[in-house]
């Protein structure tokens, strides 16, 4: 509020001549605070070890046939090929992409883990979660062009040498190297409901060795094919419901 009059409103005094440099600096600070508040962050993240660009670009290309425009709108081609805008979507949704990590506590080379953030302890409902794995075809005795069939099993692995249980089994047919997805919605929903942040997975591929198939995991020297987990979630707090109504 300006102090000129008790009847004035905050925006009325803005057009008064002022020190424009100071005003700009104040606006920039206000905008920074505004963006952080909207993203439910207290301060900007400290990026000390950026994700390899190759991994990031591959993930984004795979996930978004749409294009993020200069003004922030996202063009999503529909089935007819016409572009629509994410702005048209009333719901506030989040899409979280997290890349696989590995550490010494995990029991085998096929073990990896994901740190999943629930975006500032919001009440997020996980509508879909998928693990993306890249399978590389190695030269083998099989005739070129032959489909190679393998069985991939994804287990939840307790830290250290703890027990593990099966989350998903999927038969994969491969004619060439490529990405494949594995549904993990229920498992990620459980992570969010328990309030934990870490999801340990163990990837086993039956028949891979014989068929000349190599699932690309972490520390394989192939950063652009690093496994990643995509979580689609939407807020379920009261503000959201009021806005939607």
């Amino acid at each position: 509020h300006t102090t000129a009059s008790r009847d004035s409103c905050a925006s009325c005094g803005l057009s008064q001549p002022a020190d424009s440099g100071r005003m700009d600096a104040e606006f920039v600070e206000a905008v920074k605070r505004h963006i952080l508040t909207k993203l439910q962050m207290r301060e900007r993240p400290n990026i000390t070890q950026p994700i390899p660009k190759a991994a990031m670009v591959t993930a984004l290309r795979k996930l978004h046939a749409g294009k993020v425009r200069e003004d922030g709108r996202v063009e999503i081609p529909d089935v007819d090929g016409h572009a629509s805008h994410a702005n048209d979507v009333e719901e506030e949704t989040s899409e979280i992409i997290t890349f696989a990590e590995t550490d010494d506590l995990l029991s085998s080379k096929s073990s990896l883990f994901f740190i999943i953030s629930n975006e500032g302890n919001q009440n997020l409902y996980v509508s879909q979660a998928n693990l993306w794995l890249y399978f590389k075809l190695l030269p083998s005795l099989l005739e070129k062009g032959t489909r190679r069939k393998v069985m991939v099993k994804v287990y939840y692995q307790e830290p250290g040498l703890g027990s593990k249980w099966n989350l998903v089994e999927k038969r994969v047919e491969l004619k060439r190297s490529g990405w494949h997805t594995f549904p993990l919605t229920d498992a990620v929903q459980l992570v969010f409901s328990k309030g934990t942040r870490r999801q340990n997975l163990d990837i086993r591929c039956e028949g891979c060795e014989g068929a000349g198939v190599l699932p690309v995991l972490v520390n394989s020297g192939d950063e652009s094919h690093r496994p990643f987990l995509v979580v689609q979630a939407r807020a379920t707090d009261s503000n959201h419901r009021i806005r939607k109504r």
Binding site: C9, S11, L14, Q49, A59, R73, T98, I115, S117
Partner: protein, 115 residues
Amino acid sequence: GLECDGTNGLCCRQQFYIDFRLIGWNDWIIAPSGYYGNYCEGSCPAYMAGVPGSASSFHTAVVNQYRMRGMSPGSMNSCCIPTKLSTMSMLYFDDEYNIVKRDVPNMIVEECGCA
């Protein structure tokens, strides 16, 4: 809604673009490359309040009801506020190096009016 052009002091939308590179935020915000932090400024003389199109808010309707009934309170001057806001999609790293894509509603001021 009016765009501010410096010719009069009436309620208008001032465009204000911030390039994330200039404030050193391009290391964690992947897209877009900047933000339109537009804002509203200017005065709202009595004749501008209730003008269709520029004042379509619920508050205006309430104030107009007071005026029609001859109960216009002296302290109820109208105010230059955003009357239309739009969503902005953002792609960024969070604290755990996750890439997050979020459609943030009411991020960009598209239009200003007196209410």
